[in-house]
Symmetry: C2
Subunit: 364 residues, 2 copies
DNA sequence: TCTCCCGTTGGGACCGCTCCCAACCCGCAA
DNA sequence: TTGCGGGTTGGGAGCGGTCCCAACGGGAGA
């Protein structure tokens, strides 16, 4: 796959000069062994059990003892061995972030990078790792399902599911704690999820277009087998009311390229419009390219609005009016819920809807 | 932090209707226990030790026995318990991807998302997890250093280090297997790394500008305390030879905004140029915005070239001429090297330089 | 035929932690 | 003084693997 142009296996730190390089005696250099709970116990003059209690909340440990244990921990630089703890507790210590997308291009979107970042940050204090997994197609999805339900993870954070996701059925059956990012169409009651009110947000941004004097607003939707695609279209439709006209509706798949195609379709079919609401910023940029190539000016001839408030919105020329999608808050909330689920706290599924915000820029 | 607009703690699957919801007896719902190596041994009529051998390469196991063990594994749906294996092997089973960036805006860049994706994909068959960690500032970096060197991970994949990275010193001291993505300035001999020939790539793209008839090529560099920033500037300089003129050089920090500022500086100081090489696609987009606002047309008045061939290059108008940065291959190679390092295979540091490719588009 | 050796195999001894039960201690009511 | 009960504490029994050593068996060489 990769063809190294140059590859030099250098000696061990030759730059050390006259300082004799330390000859490593053991083959698979095992790091100097860490202090264990036993070492802490010995130093603090208590038993393993007491140290363990001290480590886990300190309930039923005398304050004086707790303090001496903590001193010992600090003195030795002790940190708990997660593998041992996980084995003893019967859990795996990791959480999977499942990105069940079939389109490679969705990785272009920096938004999911925010999820990775926030998940890992929020999971760390919970003593859990983030395991990023992806499934490009059905067969990979099958394997992924096997993996997840085989007990390799304690919980699942699921991104952007399609409504026909067979994975959803397996997750439900396996009773694996799961939180869905977005609304799992058709499975709303079976899962906990965190989402935004797509419809309301779309309604507001289209209403903004109407308020600013635009007479006919077209749209390029996201894929309609996603809750986001559906919700945003519904909001568009509600905002236009009687003015809704199917000739003004084209469809895309979230990719920049599909936004371009969508706008081209609208133009080719002779639809007349002076505003365009696009289902995502990425698609909006593609659409603007198509409009420009067709000689339409933005916003003079056509006002363009996107969705998400991703970096792309600022890269566009002119900068895009859009809706801020609270990715960070979504991620934080999802981890919180998942933690409750994994700990067996609370009852049943949790459903959270986060607020969005209209961001007006020069494109409208 | 997040203020849920609506939050309903639903009952347990009320939609099940007349079907009585299963009352969960155990508090912290422990999943049905998985089959263990002991179960496999019993079913296959062999001992634990033999199953273990079969699981780990099957050396010194008779083919017939190996087969019956594999049958038992399949029949039971057995998968190894990583926590137990890690405990027994004295390893943690995870690898940290350290993003030691101070600028939040670097998360905008979808490039590092590619790293996350490829790392997790490549690490899975090695039985290791990817732990994504970040450090925004020095104090976080301190904590991160504590964490890494406390034995929580078996290896480190380090992204985009600055030359003053105190983290580098700690990693060297701790002897933690580490692979750097990019060249660790001043620490080249102390680490293994995977990089591209920044200088050569920059040389080629600037030479392309010169070849296409441009007389004066300016540049907006990346931060000069990074190897990428330095290397790309060096290539620019070498390509211009005698024509190098400091007045044509401005500096940025990889962000789109800094690209804009860099171009503005060049214009303000009255530098004359008909071509502009920008250190990254993101910065190039910012620079193009500044040029356009100053009334310069791209590419008619000024040809603009970027670097990385990220999605942004295609979002630009016109699409950017750039250099393809082989992120995926870099990630694959880095994991391969890290695996060798962690296993104690090979000797010393490894240094790999991957090839790049000039991508010519409409901006030049 | 009798060693010797090597490929196989079984099973004991951990790895480092949590969980749980029994023992202990001490204050307070009878 | 004795009995009782609850907060503390110690330590045994795993959790599910790997590793290593001893035992076994059979073919090759003496």
């Amino acid at each position: 796959m990769s063809v190294p142009e140059v590859r030099s296996d250098g000696d061990v730190a030759p730059e050390l000069g006259s300082v004799a390089p330390v000859a490593d005696p053991s083959r698979a250099a095992r790091r100097p062994s860490r202090p264990t709970i036993e070492d802490v116990a010995r130093l603090a003059g208590v038993s393993r059990g007491t140290v363990s209690r001290a480590l886990n909340g300190g309930r039923n440990v005398r304050p004086a003892v707790l303090e001496s244990v903590n001193d010992a921990i600090a003195a030795l630089g002790y940190t708990v061995n997660q593998a041992a703890r996980n084995l003893a507790r019967g859990r795996t210590g990791s959480v999977a972030f499942v990105i069940s997308e079939r389109q490679e291009h969705l990785f272009e979107d920096p938004n999911w990078g925010v999820f990775v970042k926030v998940f890992s940050r929020e999971l760390r204090p919970l003593g859990r790792h983030l395991l990023v997994t992806t499934a490009q197609d059905r067969s990979e999805e099958q394997l992924l399902g096997d993996y997840l339900t085989a007990g390799h993870v304690d919980g699942v954070l699921l991104a952007l599911p399609y409504d026909d996701e067979p994975l959803l059925a397996r997750l439900v059956a396996s009773q694996l704690p799961t939180v869905v990012l977005g609304r799992p169409l058709g499975w709303e009651a079976a899962f906990s999820w965190v989402m935004i009110d797509e419809e309301e947000a779309a309604f507001e941004i289209v209403a903004h277009l109407v308020r600013s004097g635009r007479r006919r607003t077209a749209t390029v939707t996201g894929p309609l087998d996603t809750s986001s695609g559906q919700g945003r279209l519904a909001g568009y439709r509600r905002a236009l009311g009687m003015g809704y006209d199917p000739v003004l509706v084209a469809h895309g798949d979230w990719s920049m390229q599909s936004g371009r195609l969508g706008a081209e379709q609208l133009l080719e079919r002779g639809a007349e419009f002076d505003a365009l609401f696009v289902g995502s910023d990425h698609m909006a940029i593609g659409a603007m390219q198509a409009l420009r190539e067709a000689g339409r000016r933005v916003p003079a001839d056509v006002a363009v609005a996107g969705f998400d408030d991703s970096v792309a919105a600022l890269m566009a020329d002119p900068p895009l009016t859009t809706v801020r999608n609270p990715f960070e808050e979504t991620a934080v909330e999802a981890v919180r819920i998942l933690d409750d689920l994994m700990a067996g706290r609370g009852s049943g599924r949790r459903h959270v809807v986060l607020p969005t915000e209209l961001v007006v820029r020069a494109s409208t």
